[in-house]
Amino acid sequence: MKQQQSSRSITVILVVVLVACMLLSIRLGAVSISLSEMQSAFSRYFTTPDTVTLNERIFMTIRLPRAFLCVLVGASLAVGGTLMQALFRNPIVEPGLIGTSSGAAFGAAMYFALGAMFKFDTGVWTLPIAAGAGALLSTILVYILSLSGQTKKNSIVVLLLVGMAVNALFMSGVGFFSYIARDPQARSITFWGLGNLSGADWTVIKVVCVSTFGCITVAMRYAKDLNALMLGDDEAMLLGVNLKGLKVTILLINVVMIAVVTAFAGVISFVGLIVPHMLRAVKGADNRFLIPNSALLGGILLTLADLLARMLLRPAELPVGIVTSVIGVPIFIYLLRRTKYII
């Protein structure tokens, strides 16, 4: 009972901090928008859209969706990390490990370098579609290749190693495309590969919202099974866990979440790696606690990182992936040094 109380109070704290961070991120930006403009934006945007001023429109169509996108992307990345670490029973795993983000990067790079050659163009949706297709392709490739020829079982170690190999393959594909691309296109590939949240609009929010909340809801149903997996595959099975179903479902959830957010926000590293670590250091490895709270903490971290990314070089923007790496590396090393892990 005491335990439940303490984990509930952590959740409450995280919710409060998240709301505070969102307010901060809505308040600050290259364009200064006053509080009264924000208020009037809400009332007028829906009632009398013709009278909306530029600042009010900037607030409603750029600033606000971006704040929401930050939270959703951060939540997806962090939950993806939690799920992958639980599934692989390994604390240094991140969601990109099974090829998802490198596949997305590959799809995006192909779009930048060769997009003009192919006659498919659906406007803003072309890039996300290309990235999503790449993510799916690479993940399926990893999964099929890791089904070992002899036993047809999905060994975790083999999956990890195949993931590394396929990652290397797709990243060299990205390298190839940036090499053959013209200078501006190559710059686009680099910038996309470093993550950016400026593409937020309400349609994007709807799509990401469905994937994030849907996946987290499904993941929560498997939290207990993932806990049992801590004991090992055999022990989990003896506790009634359907191993194959669990693995396939968790991998699928991860692909959907990561492919969607990577498609809209580019490759953002370290959030998925450090968030589960931070929470585990506070309150153990119970996935029923980790999954919802890593969504909150992931949202907080990415909101803060994006705030820095927007403010540091104002009025230009840093890619947010650079900020998450710069912040993430020291935190990760600190956590690694103070925690004893069996790897």
């Binding site: 900037i58 501006p184 686009s188 400026s198 070089l313 104002r314 230009a316 992936g321 650079i322």
Partner: protein, 292 residues
């Protein structure tokens, strides 16, 4: 590894780009133009119409005083709020801006944008662009005189070129090199046209304006003259170092010390100074004493 590169890029951005964080000194102005095109920017300054320009992209480097303006960053990696922070009443661009969603956001916000006409990449086309821009900014007389100077400069260059022919084969190395692979301007580039006027021709061809080439191809092309743009040349620091590069060492250009530094912004687009640039190139190619 990827993260290390990211950190490196971030810190070098922060250290090198003094242009970020320039103060906006035109706060009170009612007409506010953000111009995201190196070519437009140079013409606007030449017309004397720069008063309303409040911010520019980071690739616009001519004339030097444009670097005093606040910048909105790289033209392919713009941020909507970054542009809007300059409170533009107009955004000028030449259709080479990105990412795509930023363009969409700007359109959705109904910020006025303008693209001037697309003309041929020759002197007549450049004249037309200068005149169109002159008319737009009500600087018709300045435009006329810019065109007159440009035309006159060009006349002289072309006249002289007749006596030289296009015997000189020139290799233009853009930007620098990465692990001994060079980014070369080909016969399809703007620079190739300027060099043709000056009485030279490109040592290499390619499907697009720029091409990555290995040292072997460079050596085989054996150019009479090598032009290296400012960034790459300055990084190496001296002629001796450039001459020692693989592929370049041993070429006629290296043997005869005919390797010259050129400004990137002179060669990648046409503008009011193009006649003078061509004249300078002509001197480099054909007048040994002047080149020294």
């Amino acid at each position: 590894m990827k993260h290390l590169i990211g950190i490196f890029i971030a810190s070098s951005l922060l250290l090198s780009c003094g242009r970020f964080g320039k103060k906006d000194e035109k706060q009170e102005q009612s007409e506010r133009i953000v111009c995201i095109s190196k070519q437009y920017n140079e013409i606007i300054y030449a017309l004397g119409a720069e008063e309303d320009i409040v911010a520019a992209d980071i690739s616009s480097t001519y004339p030097p005083q444009i670097k005093e303006l606040p910048t909105v960053g790289y033209h392919r990696a713009l941020s909507t709020e970054g542009i809007l922070a300059a409170k533009p009443t107009l955004i000028l661009h030449d259709n080479n801006i990105g990412p795509e969603h930023v363009v969409q956001q700007i359109t959705a916000l109904k910020i006025p944008t303008k693209v001037f006409g697309k003309y041929n990449g020759d002197i007549r086309g450049t004249d037309s662009l200068i005149r169109e821009m002159g008319a737009y900014f009500h600087k018709e007389r300045a435009a006329d005189s810019l065109c007159a100077i440009l035309d006159k400069d060009m006349e002289q260059v072309l006249e002289k070129a007749k006596q030289y022919g296009d015997t000189q084969r020139v290799l233009v190395i853009h930007y620098g090199r990465a692990s001994n692979v060079y980014l070369i301007m080909t016969a399809k580039s703007t620079a190739a046209r300027m060099l043709a006027w000056a009485g030279g021709r490109m040592a290499v061809d390619g499907a697009r304006g720029m091409k990555q080439m290995s040292p072997e191809v460079i050596a085989a092309s054996d150019p009479d003259v090598i032009l290296l743009t400012d960034f790459g040349y300055d990084r190496l620091g001296s002629l001796e170092k450039v001459k020692a590069l693989p592929g370049i060492a041993g070429t006629k250009a290296a043997t005869n010390n005919r390797i010259y530094r050129v400004e990137e912004h002179d060669l990648v687009y046409m503008g009011p100074r193009t006649g003078k640039v061509a004249a300078r190139l002509q001197k480099l190619l054909h007048d040994e004493t002047a080149a020294k």
